[in-house]
């Protein structure tokens, strides 16, 4: 075959995003995906019975209001992608039936909090205003631009009040932020969840992420027709612009000659050369140690060699329901929430749960995040009209009591535990209403998506020396590498995972700049503003 200009390794959200930008810029793109289907975390499967779409990975999207691809590809996505924005975003049900709800509208949220604590409600209002400014002025621009060295960044932030406010919390843990600000136990539990639900530790000093998760927890959308639609739509942009996508094409080696990345060798023996660039979106150890090899790269590899996988992952149950869950609650909010939280009444209980998971156990009564997308989008039950799809997720260790393989025999038991919590918290979930259920363990996550090693959905732990300018290391966090023509742009690279589109967008920018190809898209308004404000 002819050599493409750019080879992209990995067809997850970042590979697809980068591919779409590069293809539309006129470059001849070939995207290689090891699985039989593109999408990575943008997955959809009819894993239960025919006609019901389940979303085993990404389900709700947090950056629809901000991520540049949504705006730059607005025209291309419009015929295929419609987002649904539930008014009730998160509702938490206490064991006594009282519910606390986070609405898309902060005013309504404040009122819900007020039922529990007047002072927390005031604090929430204040935080919302302050965090919104931090998010829109600083965090969002930083997400869609290359990382800045920490000292330089501190300096830029010190010049404004918003920047100082942001700096104050950056080294705090989610637990500290919650403890410092709120008094009611349920309110604390809700915001601890908000600050940690991308599977983060409550005691990791990642305070700078807190405002982001706080704000975007009011902005979650689902994709009508299921998450995988987004992957298909991005793929269509690549193809429409002359690019190619090959599935079942696992890359075994990045061919490096004289310090230049020349092409790839596939597991099936094919060798494909790239004229201009190679972008790897797989996890950092795979890119540098397996596909390239230590001897081929002149760089301090210590961060990559000591790469830490995420300390825990998640377990999920996918069920087919005859009707959506009706919670035993004083309000109907939990029934119409995008996310309903059950199984814990306080931040202490939440922490105890997470501690058990960190110690390698799966709790007897797991805390559950429940979603029933068909309440908002009946088309996800396209083949069984009237039926509903349910997902329960719960934090879980990859190595269960020290042994990942144990999941294969334990997962039905784990599913029963989750379903039992659900039955307790609802009026109508029982053998008749739950038609079929299907478990997915952390081991299954790794089996489905090989870059999610040990169930690491973000390609690697969020710990200080794997974040920001250090993700995956100081040489490569700006998407360029010491190997000429080789770029990195997966979730293991700044700003990280959870379908932020950041690595994909930023790596495409870097490649276009280096190749001197004119950008067909304009700089986002928030970047311009951040430059004016002196943050960039």
């Amino acid at each position: 075959m002819n050599s493409p200009d750019v080879i992209i390794i990995g067809g997850g959200p970042n590979g697809l995003t980068s591919g779409a930008y590069l293809a539309k810029a006129g470059l001849d793109v070939l995207l290689l995906e090891s699985r039989h289907e593109i999408g990575g975390g943008l997955a959809g499967e009819e894993v239960t019975t025919t006609g019901l779409i389940h979303n085993p990975h990404a389900l709700y999207f947090l950056l629809v209001d901000y991520a540049p691809p949504y705006f730059d590809f607005n025209q291309e996505l419009a015929p295929f992608i419609k987002h649904i924005y539930p008014e009730v975003q998160i509702s938490m049900v206490r064991s006594d039936g009282k519910s606390l709800t986070l609405f898309s509208d902060p005013e309504k949220t404040a009122k819900s909090i007020e039922k529990f604590s007047r002072s927390d409600s005031e604090t929430y209002r204040k935080m919302y205003g302050e965090y919104l400014k931090i998010v829109e002025d600083i965090i969002i621009p930083y997400t869609f631009a290359p990382p800045i060295p920490p000292v330089e960044q501190m300096d830029l932030l010190s010049k404004t009040e918003t920047g100082q406010n942001f700096t104050e919390i950056t080294e705090m843990t989610p637990r500290e932020i919650v403890e410092e600000n709120f008094e009611d136990e349920l309110v604390k539990a809700l915001f601890l969840y908000v600050g940690t639900h991308p599977i983060l530790r409550y005691d990791e000093p990642l305070g700078y992420l807190f405002p982001l998760y706080f704000i975007v927890s009011h902005r979650m959308r689902i994709v009508e027709g299921g998450t995988h639609r987004l992957a298909s739509a991005l793929a269509k942009i690549i193809i429409r612009n002359g690019g190619m996508i090959h599935e079942a094409s696992e890359v075994a080696e990045i061919i490096v000659e004289d310090g230049v990345a020349k092409g790839v060798r596939l597991k099936d023996g094919r060798k494909i050369m790239a004229k201009k660039a190679i972008l790897s979106t797989v996890d950092p150890p795979q890119t540098f140690l397996k596909l390239i090899g230590e001897d081929k790269i002149d760089m301090d590899l210590s961060n990559i060699k000591n790469w830490e996988w995420e300390e825990f992952s998640f377990f999920s149950v996918h069920a087919d329901l005859t009707e959506p869950p009706v919670y035993r609650s004083d309000s109907s909010d939990p029934n119409r929430a995008l996310i309903t939280l059950i199984g814990y009444d306080s931040s202490e209980e939440y922490i105890t749960e997470m501690d058990a998971v960190l110690q390698g156990r799966f709790p007897e009564r797991p805390a559950c995040e429940v979603t029933c997308p068909t309440v908002f989008d009946p088309t996800q039950a396209y083949g069984q009209p009237g039926m509903h799809t349910l997902r329960i997720t719960s934090y879980a260790p990859f190595e269960l009591d020290g042994d990942a393989e144990k999941w294969d025999t334990f997962k039905n038991e784990a599913m029963d535990r989750c379903l039992s919590v659900l039955k307790d918290y609802t009026e109508n979930m029982n053998q008749d209403s739950i038609r079929y259920s299907y478990p997915q363990s952390p081991l299954d996550i790794e089996r489905r998506i090989p870059s999610m090693v040990k169930g690491s959905i973000k390609h690697g732990a969020y710990i200080p020396f794997q974040m920001g300018y250090m993700r995956p290391n100081t040489e490569c966090s700006g998407y360029r590498t010491p190997i000429k023509n080789l770029y990195v742009g997966g979730a293991g690279v700044y700003p990280g995972g959870w379908v932020s589109f950041g690595p994909g967008y930023n790596s495409a920018n870097a490649i276009l700049e280096d190749l001197g190809v004119e950008k067909w898209f304009s700089e986002p308004e928030f970047i311009k503003r951040a430059k004016e404000n002196g943050y960039l």
């Binding site: 075959m1 090891s34 699985r35 039989h36 289907e37 959809g44 499967e45 009819e46 894993v47 019975t49 025919t50 006609g51 779409i53 085993p56 015929p79 295929f80 027709g225 299921g226 995988h228 639609r229 298909s232 269509k236 193809i239 429409r240 002359g242 190619m244 996508i245 090959h246 599935e247 079942a248 094409s249 696992e250 099936d268 088309t379 396209y382 083949g383 069984q384 294969d408 997915q440 299954d444 996550i445 089996r447 489905r448």
Partner: protein, 531 residues
């Protein structure tokens, strides 16, 4: 909201995608609309258990040896399609002997010799290089000649057939069962050869003797798609998109718009109206197509013929099993090579079984073999050929298609029985497979699931009652498929309305044929340049 295209294709299954790709490549603006969330219809590969992928339906490309014109016209390889050669197809009998194809004929013959020397010699002659070339020429004539190119491809195919040695032995007017019993002495050899024709959805009662050897010859050169059958759908969809065509999922046509007896567009479920300047094509079966046209828009005799269109009495389900280790067939004591053969059927002993199976299916009952086991078509450990289907060190059983009666003909009670006994039917299928394995243990199974014919129809509404051929060939073949007035890819009397689906010639399965022939017809009618 109204949009306008040159052509609208209803349904993004195998044939709709092929037609759409040719039209787009010819420079027409094309919209393909699809009911499901994914294109591909029965080209369906699913990761049912993480890391384990299953071809739930179409798997073996039986026309691979014919090198269909679609391959090169649409440059499928450039768009990422890769094939693996694959052979096997055979039967594991109740006494755990087995008959199947090897990649090389001489090895197959050695195996046949163990059943009958005479049969081996006869097969050797019938499968001479010269004969196989003729069989392929015959098959190409049948599958890739459009109506305007040849008034009667069947008679041309027959003319070629007459020059082969098979003609005298397997004449046009006998059933394949009569001919098999007359010409081969071993009941196992008869069963094996007939089973393979049956896999091409011919029925034993038809005047099908003449198909016996040429259909078998196709099974000497099977291909399977790398990454699973769904890859074929991806690639065809990308050809459409590459040439500027648009595919819209989850928005099926609910009406074909007709003005002055011409098809002028479609109305989609979302409410959008799409105008078609040149043509509308339907990949759907006659009943579903008629629903979209509206009975009032065709003469009553057409309505009657649509209603009389007949489906097969046999339907298929699908079994998917994820395994920790690969078991050995008990038949490996007879021949070790059985462990690397793909597409082995169980539940067949003698030609008599065919009769019994069809009788059971006509009565709306599930057929059981002599020992009470389920008959299952094509049990395969496909990751042996295509390793991407299972994680390293693990295995899949895919495909494995249990036979069932057509659920629409069997009736509501039967459907209810099936729905209520999903788990039991799965257990029965697993038992039936385990009975043929030497060392398969329950603990080896990581996950298993069953798809019933009702699921097949839910996914692919074309397949009434789970009939994967979307209509029997009996009396409904060639230009008489689905019936003479609609038989040449045009839906009389509606102008500009074309039919490209499996209810047109050459029927169901992945044959790169119907959509291609429909395109050729359109090209001829409209005087298109291009491909």
């Amino acid at each position: 909201m109204t949009a306008e295209f040159d052509a609208v294709v209803v349904g993004a299954g195998h044939n709709g995608l092929i037609l759409g790709a040719y039209l787009a490549k010819s420079g027409l603006s094309v919209l393909v609309c699809e009911n499901r969330w994914e294109v591909g219809g029965s080209m369906d590969t699913r990761e049912l258990f993480p890391g384990f992928k299953f071809n739930l339906h179409a798997t073996y490309n039986v026309v691979h040896g014919l090198n269909p014109p679609v391959y090169r016209d649409l440059e499928l390889e450039k768009f990422g399609l890769r094939w693996k050669p694959c052979t096997g197809w055979g039967v594991v009998f109740g006494d755990n002997r087995a008959l199947f194809y090897y990649p090389e004929l001489k090895h197959t013959l050695k195996l046949v010799e163990r059943f009958s020397q005479n049969d081996a010699r006869l097969i050797e002659r019938l499968f001479s290089k010269e004969n196989i070339e003729k069989y392929y020429q015959l098959a190409r004539t049948l599958f890739y000649t459009a109506p305007h190119e040849l008034e009667n491809p069947a008679s041309e195919a027959g003319r070629i057939y007459k020059t082969t040695e098979g003609y005298e032995r397997f004449p046009f007017d006998s059933t394949m069962m009569e001919a098999a019993e007359e010409n081969f002495e071993s009941p196992e050899v008869q069963t094996w050869l007939m089973r393979i024709v049956e896999a091409s959805m011919m029925e034993p009662s038809e005047s099908s003797a003449w198909t016996l050897m040429w259909i078998n010859s196709l099974y000497l050169n099977l291909g399977i798609a790398v990454g699973g059958t769904h890859s074929i759908a991806h690639v065809l969809a990308r050809v459409i998109q590459y040439y500027g065509g648009m595919i819209i999922e989850r928005d099926p046509a609910v009406e074909i718009l007709i003005e002055n007896e011409r098809a002028v567009g479609v109305r989609l479920k979302s409410g959008k109206t799409v105008r078609a300047r040149k043509l509308v094509a339907s990949n759907l079966n006659p009943s579903l197509t008629l629903e979209l046209i509206g009975e009032e828009n065709v003469p009553s005799e057409i309505v009657k013929k649509v209603k009389n269109y007949r489906y097969r009495y046999t339907s298929h389900g699908s079994i998917a099993i994820a395994l920790k280790r690969k078991p050995s067939w008990k038949a490996s004591e007879f021949t070790q090579d059985v462990n690397s053969a793909m597409g082995l059927s169980i539940g067949w002993e003698s030609p008599e079984n065919f009769v019994r199976m069809y009788e059971a299916h006509r009565k709306g009952e599930i057929y059981k073999d002599d020992n009470g086991f389920m008959a299952i078509e094509a049990v395969s450990f496909l990751n042996e050929v295509e390793p991407t289907l299972a994680p390293p060190g693990y295995h899949v059983i895919t495909p494995a298609w249990p036979y069932f009666p057509n659920t629409r003909y069997a009736g509501e009670k039967f459907i209810e029985y099936m729905e209520n006994n999903r788990q039991e039917l799965l257990e029965w299928a697993i038992e039936s497979i385990m009975d043929k394995m030497q060392d398969m243990k329950r603990d080896d199974i990581i996950g298993a699931t069953i798809y019933l014919p009702t699921d097949v129809e839910k996914k692919n509404p074309n397949m009434y009652g789970g009939d994967i051929n979307v209509g029997t060939f009996e009396g409904q073949s060639m230009w008489h498929r689905p019936f003479p007035e609609w038989g040449k890819y045009r839906a009389y009397p509606v102008e500009n309305l074309y039919l490209c689906g499996p209810s047109s010639h050459s029927g169901g399965g992945i044959k790169f044929s119907n959509g291609y022939l429909c395109y050729k017809t359109i090209k001829h009618d409209l005087g298109l340049g291009g491909v």
